[in-house]
């Protein structure tokens, strides 16, 4: 039996954007875009579900940080096979960049308790940073395997994973615990299951219940599954490291840009090349 935590994010659907997708100030107009389960997080959930297919007593907990309505994706994940959901929600989290987010998530993961595997999407379609997964691994002090396309094998405490890289694939092996980020080429998530949907459609967080009519609750409460909801205090987090205050990333300005170069440039990982790239970016005022 494995204990798996899947990290998921509710994101605006940026794949089919209309004219009103951006506000005049250059920020995303979230109201105009449907909120969806981040696509690569669904790939991560599928990888977890495949492990559960093989080891049926595996427990999958879906963890998300966001506003109260983010509970929607927890239900969605439960319809598809996740066993439980945890919503991390608090005003203190608002404005978090990737560092503050990964800090909050790592606190919640510690609170959930020993996990053998943490799975997450490679990146979210609203930010495309691909930083949260690796940062969570770092904060928990566990190894990470990014860009996972397939879990080749999992026996006892050893996992073999195929990674999808820019110029091919790489197979790596690691002992648990490990954090894995799933690439979009990993298997597509299975559909919502009819029975699970009917079973979990009434699963709600406490915040959602407070906004529900009482007569409805009287009928449904006894049967409904309660989705765990935690605030910053519940996960023993240090408020200073959360939210806008805990985020070193400051957005000065957002502008539309048109790419001028048509081709991409590949830089190797040796120090000299990275150094020269940094010089170039600073001299062109791209960063700094």
């Amino acid at each position: 039996m494995y204990k798996i935590i899947v990290l998921a994010k509710q994101v605006p659907d940026t794949r089919n954007v209309g004219k009103d997708a951006m506000k005049a100030d250059g920020t995303v107009n979230r109201a105009a875009l449907p909120a969806i389960f981040n696509p690569e997080d669904l790939n991560a959930l599928e990888l977890a579900l495949e492990i559960k297919d093989q080891y049926p007593d595996t427990k999958i907990t879906l963890l998300t940080m966001g506003p109260v309505r983010a509970a929607e994706i927890l239900r969605e994940g439960m319809y598809r096979g996740a066993d439980a959901g945890v919503l991390l929600t608090d005003k203190a989290f608002a404005g978090s960049d990737t560092l503050a987010t990964s800090y909050a998530l790592s606190c919640a993961i510690r609170k959930i308790g020993e996990a053998d595997l943490i799975l997450a999407g490679r990146q979210a379609i609203d930010g495309d940073t691909a930083q949260v997964g690796p940062q969570v691994a770092d904060k928990l002090g566990i190894p990470q395997i990014t860009y996972a396309e397939e879990i080749i094998s999992l026996h006892d405490r050893t996992i073999q994973v195929k990674r999808r890289l820019e110029r091919g694939v790489e197979v790596v092996e690691c002992t648990l615990p490990v954090l894995i980020t799933a690439h979009s080429t990993a298997p597509e998530c299975r559909p919502r299951n009819a029975k699970r949907l009917m079973r979990f459609k009434r699963a709600t967080t406490l915040s959602e219940r407070h906004t529900t009519a009482e007569d409805y609750l009287a009928v449904h409460n006894d049967q409904a599954v309660l989705i765990t909801e935690w605030c910053a205090k519940d996960v023993n987090s240090d408020l200073v490291q959360l939210g806008l205050g805990g985020s070193p990333t400051k957005v000065r300005q957002v502008e539309n840009i048109v790419f001028q170069a048509k081709e991409s440039k590949v830089i190797s990982t040796d120090d000299a090349e990275i150094e020269s790239l940094m010089q170039e970016l600073i001299s062109q005022h791209t960063i700094g």
Partner: protein, 567 residues
Amino acid sequence: MANYYTDTAELKFHLTHPLMQKIVALKERNYTEHERFDYAPVDFEDAMDSYDKVLEIVGDICANTVAPHAESVDAEGPLLIDGHVKYAAGTQKNLEAIVKAGLMGITLPRKYDGLNFPIVPYIMAADMVSRADASFVNIWGLQDCAETIHEFADEEQQARYLPRIAAGETAAMDLTEPDAGSDLQAVQLKATLVDGKWLLNGVKRFITNGDGNISLVLARSEEGTADGRGLSMFIYDRDSNAVTVRRIEHKLGIIGSPTCELVFKNAPAELVGQRKFGLIKYVMALMNGARLGIAAQSVGIADAAWREAVSYAKERVQFGSSISKFPAVYEMISKMKAKVDAIRSLLYETARFVDVYKAYEHISKERSLTPEERTELKAYQKLADIFTPMSKGLSSEVCNQVAYDALQIHGGSGFMKDYPIERIYRDARITSIYEGTTQLQVVAAVRGVTMGGYLAQMKAYEVMDVKPELLGYRNYISEMTSEYEEAVKMVMEPANNEYTDFHARRLVEMAGNIMMSHLLVLDTNRDHQYWKSLDIFLKIARGENRGKMEFIKITNPADLGKYKIDG
């Protein structure tokens, strides 16, 4: 994200029909199951919410999994490997998605792992799957066989087989043989009782999904008999490995659906229900369910064809304008839509009738029905019996007309393999043939003409409350009803059975046109959106019925000789 449920408002419209209140209460035994099953509804609203949400899953899978595979499935088709069927890759993926979504055993009771849905939402799923890929609905829709096992097999057999179907195993109904197609009384496949066990020997032909896990087989159990009374129904389990697929047919359409020739060699089988009731009772029930399924398939295919026509006509520019602007084209398209709306209304009306009587039938096995309930059961069963062949017969013909016109709108491009319409056109063709040709649906339906069942229902529709602005349409339909009554009288007067048979299809079609017109009035009464379809359909219906009446007026029994084929 594309979704075949949310993009078709007609489905939700029919799902919320007033009669659903009664149907769901019956099916859910007044909402008592939630104490035993955590996914059972607590009340009507909860049940409807579940149907709505589950149909959205179906709509998602149809739009994003099944439809995108349709072209490759049609090109590849199934393969015959070592006497067994291998589905096309796309079909396998479709099936996997459907099984993972838990969409097998939709109507089965929860104690057998089913969803315990009424037939209406099940038929809606069939409607959508057919729109996505008509060949796939055959494999998925054969879960109908489970309904027959549920109805007629014993408790122990139900407990063994039904959960397997709910878990995703596929089924088949093995009825036809080389010399027993429309005439199933001629079935020869032999069932012999050896040491208390039944063994099957012989050949079946044209068996859809013939290599399915669980098959219902019609076989001759009574040696020396030659008609339907010597036939019994059996369950054959593929795990016994005693049936070989000898051939997969090469077909015009629904290529993804494997049509098999099967060889039974001492295949072990279990008797279902009583001996000798195979054809006269069980196959009749099985066929009625399957006919409703084909009616749904016809509606789904017609819907797909209409959508292809609309999108092509809008984008195709000729003579400096989109061709959808030309009267010759827009008339065709709007008539298609009116016909699709009409056959869909007839389909769901039929499904509701079947739902009420089937629910009562199942309840009657748990407790005795009150006299009022018994009367209702009988009334709805009568309606289901005359509406099912009408719905299957007429909607499959309309499906072919719509597919024909949709291809026509594509012009030369439609004749090429470049657009989905050519596949849809080929797929449509089978609907008026299998599960009983249109000509045989008429044989079943004409009883509704001669015994007055249709007329009684027309009169019942006439007095249903509608908004005053719809009464004008009602009057037209009343005139059509009088004309129909007169036509029936003229045909019946000579008391010549052959003459009645000669006009049978005309009369059934006249009745169908009137029925669909009434249904569109009722639809428009609930939702003004149906107004255009009502107006357009009623004009088509009046014209057609008048033409048929004229034909009846100018023929008499003496004319039959001119039509007979010499020799």
